[in-house]
Symmetry: C2
Subunit: 352 residues, 2 copies
Amino acid sequence: MPAPTGLQALSPWCARLCLGVERFLRELNPDGLAGRPLVLAVSAGSDSTALARILSLLAPRLGFAPVAAHLDHGLRPDSPDDLAFCARLARDLGMPFHARAADVRALAASERLGIEDAGRRARYAWLEEVRRETGADAVAVAHHLDDLAEDQLLRLIRGAGWPALGGMPAWDPPRRLLRPLLLTPKRHLLNFLDETGTAWREDPSNADPAFARNRIRHDVLPLFARENPDYLARAAELWRQARQDEAHWAEQAVLAGTEEPGGDGSLLLTARTLRDAPQALRLRLYKRAVESLGPGQTLGESLRRLDAAWLARAKGKRLQFPGGKEAVVEQGGVRFRPSKNSPEVDTSPGER
Amino acid sequence: MPAPTGLQALSPWCARLCLGVERFLRELNPDGLAGRPLVLAVSAGSDSTALARILSLLAPRLGFAPVAAHLDHGLRPDSPDDLAFCARLARDLGMPFHARAADVRALAASERLGIEDAGRRARYAWLEEVRRETGADAVAVAHHLDDLAEDQLLRLIRGAGWPALGGMPAWDPPRRLLRPLLLTPKRHLLNFLDETGTAWREDPSNADPAFARNRIRHDVLPLFARENPDYLARAAELWRQARQDEAHWAEQAVLAGTEEPGGDGSLLLTARTLRDAPQALRLRLYKRAVESLGPGQTLGESLRRLDAAWLARAKGKRLQFPGGKEAVVEQGGVRFRPSKNSPEVDTSPGER
């Protein structure tokens, strides 16, 4: 598999695909892509093989230095073959290659996690390690538009609300994750691999219908695509609209004034901030404050109950949030803090 | 089937259900519910039978006078039995009853519509006729929370964007349609019918998996509910959030200044209005202007292209919208009007 020397060695269709990814990367404008290493997560599957191939073509144009990284999950007898495949791919593309073997089953048992969760955790921890070692600013992962459409449905099912419903970000600064293919349909990636004669290895876990994600992938999304052949383009547009609204609400939050930190690890949204904010903003300010205290899903119903308590100036009214957090209505505003009495308490959404 | 004389004749569970619907109706606050007739659309199916029963209990409390209306679609041999059932239901509940027979097959043939579409059109036209005849302000229809969840998915598939994605309104002033059960799950309606010993007739068309709506109903929503048993509550919350954001953007549009009508049926969004509006608002102002010119779906991609043309001040740049509409970038802003040359033209969303 000799690597083409550049975009000009590709078919016009493949070159256009690469230029689309390049345009998207420039639009995302992650800090410091040029002149720095960029870690590429590779699994030997089609998506990440396409990612490595496309980004190796874009690297000289965008000025970053790609580095391939593979974690052997050790879950299938042939996982060393995946590792060998990735090593050869990196060599053919002229990239440094980092690999490690993890015992995902042992991690799942010791941390009481599902195998999928344990694998994801081990993988991202290792990728972050490689990023630090190599001095890279980001880790590029191969999520594509079909993954995004899936993610939107999973978020819909969980009740994520808007704009979170729009799906995963393409550039996630806290996690240093970059998703260059996020608006590229999977069938375009497969076509790219086919046209460039690039081999890849099937990942059998993707075909397992036991996971909710796979039911959505194999049953729901094909139904949606039959109903609307442009469905994936609509998913991409929903993502763009969510990013736009997210930026809007973030800006409004800054204009409204941020929370004031208390000495005890609490945060206060002041009466002044809340008075000037319309409801659509107030609920988002509450959500941001709750989520800044730590993990735990914040449901819209709870935020709405809190807002009603604030509007009624129900002084002393306390509302619990999942993850051992609470909000209290005070004279001077709404205070958010770790729960004092009952860190495990979670009020049911149906409660008045 | 003797009607209970009021909420106190019901089980506590059934009374709570009715009070929930009452609270929702008060919250919607449709103009003039009190002291006026309210048309209830009845089909003999479970949903509208529950609607008639619940609203007959709430009528004295809310001060409206319910009137039942049934259209015989003539699509099944036993449709006269549906009519007879509705007539008896109305008599038992002490409501005036209006009925008519329509030839839906003939309408479908003459208007080149699908049977479902033709039935819907005939039904809503007839309900509007009864509304005018009786001097009612609104027609109440039996859409419930499962219908809303379905509607959200159909809107997602079509690419409706936010906040339209939140689903159908519960009070639709232009169409005078009221949906008192919109946040009530269907299983609660069935339980209500069961507990009150109310009979109803199965509608076989609901069980036909040929329709996209029914595939969503029978395959997709059950999968979502298995993944998240609270899924319907999340759908209701998404609806509430959409209503909140819709109100927010409508208010922002008013503050930004409305479109200026031109003499030729065109509308101008002035440079001043657009200059002060953030992108999240500008795209919604374009959408509102395009949609005010007539029907046709307005995709986000097109609005985004228009915005890029406006930001580049690409004077003379013309963008087509489905339904024979166009937008033109002018010195003084963006003008929206019926297309002059090519009323049928529709630019593909993928076009640059």
